[in-house]
């Protein structure tokens, strides 16, 4: 009975045909273990899909709930921490395997005619894998996620002409917030999966259409055999070993979860996941106006060269020894990636001057509320938020200001005091920081990854302008920047303009 049911299912579904099509393909007998990397990449994609579906059962993409729901997954859901770790580390494994797979194809010259489209679809797949990494990074809504995305979307804003539109589109507004989270979530779980599945189907169909190449030195060997069972067994063995490694890593190290995203937090270091470190490091070599070269031009060129590789290297010879210029270029490229990743993992962010929005605000509030009684040089230790609030309410203290110091103001004050040894702001710069906040400069300008985007970023203004230019510009922006939309700050005194310039010129 069961056998008859199975036969009926096989005849009606055509599952045998499917099996024969994919598993009984004739492949060169000489293919080796390096040929398992494509299957391995596909396996890791399946791991990401399955674990991702489970995470989506519990995740809520709103700023109020995202972090709490991820904590819930991590600590309350049965096996939730392990599933999240598999998803987190699986993403890294997938990137590594995709790179290795591309390396194998490059090394063996397998991208050559007639397999150009197979290679090109693979390059787009790599791009999609990285897009998954970028969009997934924000979802836990922790400090690293938030600030990493602030910087990432600002980089998109550097694109010529359309830059501000692109970053506003990505963020769903001028700031990273609720709209950004729902957008990234939709991209991560709906749009990108649909695109990648379509592209995987295309990639595999192309692979099937043109067949698999043998390693170059066995190119003339006519011996072929069916993929199943010998090569399939090798793929399965590789998948098993890689999965055991992934599982062991996930059991030993849970996926990181930092403090929840805090828009006023000091010391948040926006560092991307390791596979974006080359890009992150590259940005440091292109300061000021050249930033766009590191952020856009170089990555776009790399992408285009990768895409065009089969058309640049057109000779039919596939042995690496006969393709020395390409082998050398490929080697240099990999070396650059490794070195940039290494340097990026050690360094600090491009604009790490140690002062953020919280410290700036804190400096302002200190000048307003504390400076008439306190000299920071004489302060022993750094008071925390609770102490500051308590101190302000203390009836025995003669306050020069209102006793109402909100939790937010207290946190910026302590952030400023903690950062002060690193900052070493002169009294003029301190005053300038206060004027920056008081005049809402951050409403239009970004400073260290936070603020508005309708005006240019001030992160490196110190390397572009001098004090004379700054003061003149404050008084009459249009005189120096035709069609400038910035209002004139001519109501500020010369001293105030000088102090504000001193503060901003620190950012180099």
């Amino acid at each position: 009975m069961l056998r008859r049911l199975a036969d009926w299912f096989r005849s009606r579904s055509g599952v045998d045909h499917l099996w024969n099509h994919w598993m009984r393909e004739n492949v060169p007998s000489r293919i080796n273990w390096f040929y398992t990397l494509g299957s391995l990449a596909l396996f890791f994609f399946i791991v990401q899909v399955i674990t991702g579906i489970v995470l989506a059962l519990y995740y809520a993409p709103t700023p109020q709930s995202a972090y709490a729901s991820v904590r819930y997954i991590q600590y309350q859901v049965v096996l939730g921490g392990l599933v999240r770790a598999l998803h987190h580390w699986g993403a890294s494994f997938m990137v590594i395997v995709v790179f290795l797979h591309m390396g194998r194809v490059f090394f063996y010259g397998s991208y050559k005619a007639p397999r150009e489209l197979t290679w090109m679809s693979g390059v787009f797949l790599l791009l999609l894998v990285l897009a998954f990494g970028f969009t997934g990074y924000l979802l836990p809504w922790d400090q690293k996620a938030y600030w990493g995305t602030v910087v990432g979307t600002n980089i998109a804003g550097l694109a010529p002409v359309l830059g501000s539109y692109i970053s506003t589109f990505l963020r769903g507004g001028s700031q990273v917030g609720a709209m950004t989270l729902t957008r990234f979530y939709t991209l991560h779980v709906v749009v990108l999966p649909a695109l990648i599945v379509a592209l995987i189907v295309a990639h595999l169909s192309l692979m099937r259409r043109h067949g698999i190449t043998a390693p170059p030195k066995y190119e003339q060997d006519p011996e072929r055999e069916e993929f199943y069972p010998r090569h399939a067994a090798r793929d399965a063995t590789m998948i098993f070993v890689a999965f055991v490694v992934l599982l062991a890593l996930s059991l030993m190290r849970s996926a990181p979860l930092e403090a929840p995203a805090d828009l006023n937090a000091s010391g948040a270091e926006p560092k991307p996941d390791w596979y974006f470190l080359p890009l992150y490091q590259l940005l440091k070599y292109f300061p000021g106006k050249l930033e766009i070269v590191g952020a856009m031009v170089v990555p776009a060129l790399v992408f285009l060269v990768l895409l065009a590789l089969p058309f640049l290297d057109r000779k039919p010879e596939r042995r690496i020894g006969a393709r020395k210029p390409f082998a050398a270029a490929g080697g240099v490229f990999v070396l650059c990636l490794v070195v940039l990743t290494f340097l990026g993992s050690r360094g600090s962010p491009p604009a790490a001057t140690g002062i953020g929005v919280a410290e700036t605000s804190g400096a302002f509030f200190f000048g307003q509320k504390c400076a008439s009684c306190h000299q920071l040089d004489r302060l022993k230790g750094v008071p925390d938020d609770a102490w500051i609030q308590q101190h302000a309410r203390d009836k025995n203290v003669q306050l020069a200001t209102s006793p109402k110091i909100s939790a937010r103001v207290a946190s910026t004050l302590s952030a400023y005091m903690q950062a002060r040894p690193k900052l070493d702001l002169s009294p003029a710069e301190l005053h300038g920081a206060g004027l920056f906040v008081l005049n809402s400069c951050g409403g239009c300008h970004t400073l260290l990854g936070a603020g508005g985007i309708s005006g240019p970023s001030l992160d490196r203004v110190g390397s572009k302008r001098d004090k004379k230019w700054m003061i003149e510009h404050f008084k009459d922006p249009e005189k120096l920047v035709p069609k400038s939309k910035m209002p004139a700050f001519d109501y500020l005194s010369d001293q105030e303009l000088s102090d504000l310039s001193d503060f901003l010129l620190r950012f180099k």
Binding site: F43, V47, I50, T51, I53, V54, L57, Y58, A60, S65, A68, S69, R71, Y72, Q76, V77, V78, L79, G80, L82, V83, L86, Y228, P229, R230, A232, A233, D235, A236, T237, I239, F240, F243, L247
Partner: protein, 154 residues
């Protein structure tokens, strides 16, 4: 040759099945997590008022505040209960119909708890008198302390 082929076949299915099995177990375990978790319940010691003020044979609606755990959300919500004094006994009933979970209401003219969904009916003691409910209304354990009705346990 055949034995070699069989070895590869066994290797393939063995090594393919293990990751598939582990992944399935992990993901199903996580997906079914709520099944293993205890859901929220009424807190202990909630004061439902003076016993003397509860009229005979006329169910009273009382609101009880409970802490509801809904995934990562914890919120205090008001939950309705019926307090019934009949035959010298005071009992507290949940208003949830035991058929498919709709909210029953007391019909004073009919002297029955009516469920609006599928016509379930319960009498003053919470017993089913008509319709599809399989069980009486759930009784919430309560006791009288210092002449006050108090919910006993969660």
């Amino acid at each position: 040759m055949d034995s070699r082929r069989e070895f590869f076949k066994t290797t393939f299915w063995f090594f393919a099945a293990i990751p598939a099995g582990i992944l399935s177990a992990l993901t199903l375990g996580a997906a079914f997590s709520p099944v293993f978790k205890k859901s929220g319940s009424l807190p202990q010691g909630v004061d439902l008022g003076e016993v003397g003020q509860i009229p005979d044979n006329a169910p009273q609606v009382k609101m009880v505040e409970i802490l509801r755990s809904d995934g990562w959300n914890q919120q205090r919500i008001q939950r309705k209960v019926f307090v019934v004094k009949s035959g010298g006994k005071v009992r507290v009933f949940s208003p949830v119909c035991t058929h498919l979970g709709c909210q029953v209401d007391w019909d004073e003219s009919d002297k029955k708890f009516n469920c609006p969904c599928h016509g379930g009916q319960y009498n003053l003691n919470g017993d089913v008198v008509a319709g599809p409910p399989p069980r009486p209304l759930e009784e919430i354990p309560a006791e009288i302390r210092d002449n006050k009705l108090v919910i006993r346990s969660g």
